[in-house]
């Protein structure tokens, strides 16, 4: 990617973000009611999006060659179990990341 393409990519991400933040204020500035379908998508999309993002993070992990995705699996398991148990966002993220770092630096 050239420098210009990098700047463009960041600008596109900023424009995309601003579109989502400003759109309601532009469309509904008179306080009209939000279409039901949009309200529905607003509730239903987040779960699917975050599931998709987890897969996106793992897209280059190979489960068929060494280390078979094991560090990732263990790191996610630690994060998830800790979070289901303690529900402390920062603790779960920090512990999962630390375990993963130790695994790929010293074990695998």
């Amino acid at each position: 990617m050239t420098l210009f393409q990098q700047i463009l990519t960041i600008a596109i991400c900023a424009i995309g973000t601003m579109t989502t933040r400003f759109l309601p204020f532009i469309v509904f500035f008179r306080g009209e009611e939000t279409p039901k379908y949009i309200q529905y998508l607003g509730k239903a999309l987040p779960g699917a999006i975050f599931g998709m993002l987890i897969v996106y993070c793992l897209k280059n992990v190979s489960v068929l060659t060494y280390s078979y995705g094991l560090p990732e699996l263990i790191g996610i398991a630690v994060t998830a179990v800790l979070h289901i148990w303690k529900r402390k966002t920062l603790l779960s993220i920090a512990a999962g990341t630390a375990v993963y770092m130790l695994l790929i630096q010293f074990v695998f």
């Binding site: 424009i15 306080g31 779960g47 699917a48 779960s92």
Partner: protein, 231 residues
């Protein structure tokens, strides 16, 4: 008036300060490990100011140029902000020029505070919202740049720090999961993405996955909404 609003706003932002110091530094380190100088996290944290998308943007910067995918990704990851906007329509009304910054800087955390905080009667609401937004963004920008700069000096082995992004999405996914009554949408997101990844490969699975997710959510509206109505 401004000082008073700042004093009222600051305590509300302390949890965000802690979170952003950690995540922002991790993000900064991640950009450094990815071979980007401090200007990149500075630009991204200032112009985009949305944690999850900024992490993804780093991946984009290291991949072949794909503007359409970048825009779709930005719109889909940030789509939830539209609903924050709907919730804040009345609160941000009549704020003058400040309103544009308030909307610009409305990340998840800023929205949560400004939407729920009890603002004392004698504090100006507009400036309260403004300082919450400004403080939160400052924490994020400063942490991100600091993380990037420190990454060049500290002789610490940070191989694997990029996993912080995966862990963060696992936690956000679970937080969402705890809130849902039915988990059909979450399952759709995971299953469709894995299938598309297998079929289309790591470099081109996102757009088919996003299209399939929107289509499935539209077709399955009745069962998904039916689940939400039950208490």
């Amino acid at each position: 008036m401004k000082i008073k609003a700042l004093k009222a706003a600051f305590p509300h932002t302390i949890p965000i300060l802690t979170a952003f110091a950690f995540l922002g530094m991790a993000y900064g380190l991640y950009t450094r490990v990815s071979g980007l100088g401090f200007v990149y996290p500075l630009m991204m944290s200032t112009a985009i100011f949305g944690g999850s998308l900024e992490f993804v943007t780093v991946t984009m910067l290291l991949s072949p140029f794909a503007p359409v995918q970048a825009l779709l990704m930005a719109l889909l990851i940030q789509a939830r902000h539209m609903f924050y906007g709907i919730a804040m329509l009345d609160r941000y009304r009549g704020m003058g020029l400040k309103k544009y910054y308030l909307i610009f800087a409305m990340c998840d955390e800023t929205f949560s505070i400004n939407c729920t905080a009890d603002i004392p009667e004698d504090v100006d609401r507009g400036w309260f919202y403004f300082f919450v937004s400004l403080l939160n963004q400052s924490y994020w920008v400063i942490s991100a740049v600091t993380g990037n700069l420190l990454g060049g000096f500290i002789d610490l082995n940070i191989q694997g720090i990029d996993f912080v992004m995966t862990a963060m999405f696992v936690v956000i996914f679970l937080n969402q999961w705890f809130k849902e009554k039915r988990h059909l949408s979450s399952w759709i997101g995971l299953a469709v993405s894995v299938l598309c990844l297998i079929v289309f490969g790591p470099d081109s699975f996102l757009i088919p996955a996003m299209v399939c997710i929107i289509a499935l959510l539209t077709f399955l509206r009745k069962p998904i909404e039916g689940g939400e109505d039950k208490v």
